[in-house]
Subunit: 352 residues, 2 copies
DNA sequence: CTGAAAGCGCTAACAG
DNA sequence: CTGTTAGCGCTTTCAG
């Protein structure tokens, strides 16, 4: 890069015959080039770039014009190195969940919010130890993290917080681990709406289908608590069918158990749409009509639940908003609550 | 802020006062600290770190021990600045598609493959112009990109390639734009399997449900071509029902059209599971049994298609593998084909 | 309101 | 096999 080069704009073609992974980027226009061309100092360019008000309008305009002309783009790495802060955030999710719709919706929300603040999101699947997560923070590649924990005591959260990484946990109330914030959906409130809806339809014998092994702080616990509370307040009985897992087959098993006895419930709340689909199948198998003989309400509002027969009444799980809120919490730490609960709303369709 | 703000050079011009910014990271142990403590030069530390064979085993061990003791973690930003290359790859997807299962599966595959090479994935949703994508490359934050294009002529691909960014396009054959590689699923082959399967079941009057407006290079075109070719070779007639879109309702409309006439097809291939679900509904509405009166085959193998009544025979859309392959192509450019086609396989279930 | 100087922590060239 | 030297491009600090 000779100082006499008359056309610093043209990036030199980097030649490499190396067997390495990706070729190195060609040299680019730097802030010094801009400074020289605009007849100001590099410092001024830097200030103009971040819109400092302490630069005269005339200088700003001139520098902007030069930037445009030279096609200047600031080098994020150099900025990060010097300022010790990156405009990148980590999204941590258990490897097994990366392809799930939950992660997809959270990532969609997170990337949208991040983009509005000119940040970007680095997705990092982690194994059971969760140790991979903290590496990118310690390497200073990201300056904060939002985490979808594998469980309430996911070690990734502790590792991140322990390393000093600003962290926001999503969807579950992680074990008392000070130093991070939490954004959850209002699972309990959603469940209350679901059960209240059944009550308002006149149902007094209710059924609940949910996975067994209730752990406080989880999505499932909140939904179960909400349902129990609403039933109690409504003076209705709530018969619980505990099942093994969240799958459709589990829902069928639970539904069958509830429906095959005397005094069977006339309204069933399954704490996920997949479980509810199983309940629908069980009702069909038992020769019961929905909602005539038994009403069914799910939770999640999965994209396909509207296409079932009948279309499923369900509660929307506001994942996109949770993802957005988590990033917002991270970037605007001064905003009030340490704890945010995103409302969930009932969607009434044919199954009730 | 505004997407129409015509100042590509200057990010966040003028409004940085509120500056959502995270606190700077604390100072950390540097390679110089390690060097001093180990009594070697900084250069040696660097070489040890990347496992150079030109360092004596004794020195390696000593340096490693010191690194461990001091809790050294290399600063990725400094490395990137100096070496002009980042261990981060961009995943570009249309904003509207970021939450879709397609993106989720591709991202899952991409992150897995990337992690194996010690790279990470930055997810970037882009608007219709696709210009946001290239920014992260020009800022040297990423050193390559995999793209899920919004259409065959997505401008993001051209922008990336034009900026010199190593690029791999996924799922669609982007318009002739040299300088990038492509990884697609074998949509045509999958469709051939679907139709051959119907033929092997003895069906000779076949129906096809697909969105109209066939554009070469798209997923839908490949599936349609495959189906047509297989029907032709099998000596069967293929009646085409063109519909407006990919939705369940479109499938119902197409299915109804095929099924309500004389000489109706006895086997229908819908080029997506959502369309196939619609066909199933149409068959039910027409009082036809599946597969007794009409067999139905879909494409995609969405997670819920196994739970329909009857469970759907379909072709697996190997998205995870496509995501993996795209990243592999990017990181191992010397590997043979410019063009990779990931096989798709038929999954026979109850609907046929 | 602007400039000069000094590094951030690392890797790359070249010596030995 | 290892050390020395010289920056990568930016932001910061301190002077004016």
């Amino acid at each position: 890069m000779s100082a006499t080069d008359p056309t610093p704009v043209v990036p030199r073609a980097g030649q490499d015959a190396e067997g390495a992974a990706l070729r190195r980027a060609p040299a680019r226009v730097t802030s010094r080039d801009v400074a020289r061309a605009a007849g100001v100092s590099q410092n001024t360019v830097s200030l103009v770039l971040k819109g400092s008000t302490r630069i005269s309008a005339a200088t700003q305009a001139r520098v902007h014009a030069v930037m445009e002309r030279l096609g200047y783009e600031p080098n994020a790495m150099a900025a990060a190195l010097r300022s010790r802060t990156t405009r990148a955030l980590l999204f941590v999710a258990p490897r097994a969940a990366v392809h799930s719709h939950v992660t997809a919706e959270l990532v969609a929300g997170a990337t949208d919010e991040a983009a509005e603040h000119d940040y970007c999101i680095v997705v990092r699947p982690v194994g059971p130890h969760g140790t991979e997560a903290v590496e990118l923070y310690r390497r200073q590649f990201v300056s904060g993290a939002v985490v979808l924990p594998a469980s309430v005591d996911d070690p990734a959260v502790g590792a991140l917080v322990g390393a000093g990484c600003p962290t926001v946990v999503m969807l579950t109330t992680s074990a008392a681990c000070p130093g991070h914030r939490t954004v959850v959906a209002d699972d309990a409130g959603g469940a209350v709406q679901a059960v209240s809806h059944l009550l308002s339809r006149g149902h007094r014998r209710l059924g609940l289908v949910a996975p067994r092994g209730l752990v406080e702080g989880t999505i499932s616990a909140s939904r179960i608590r909400g349902a129990q509370q609403a039933a109690l307040q409504g003076g209705a009985q709530l018969e619980e069918a505990w099942v093994d897992d969240w799958g459709v087959r589990d829902g069928s098993a639970g539904g069958a158990r509830l429906l095959q006895r005397q005094g069977r419930p006339t309204g069933i709340f399954a704490i996920s749409d997949a479980l509810a689909l199983g309940v629908l199948a069980a009702a069909g198998a038992a020769g019961l009509r929905v909602p005539g003989d038994v009403a069914v309400v799910g939770f999640d509002n999965r994209e396909w639940s509207q296409y079932w027969n009948p279309p499923l009444t369900t509660v929307e799980f506001p994942l996109r908003s949770v993802g957005r809120a988590a990033v917002r919490r991270l970037l605007c730490p001064e905003e009030p609550p340490e704890w945010e609960r995103v409302p969930a709303r009932l969607i009434v369709r044919g199954s009730s």
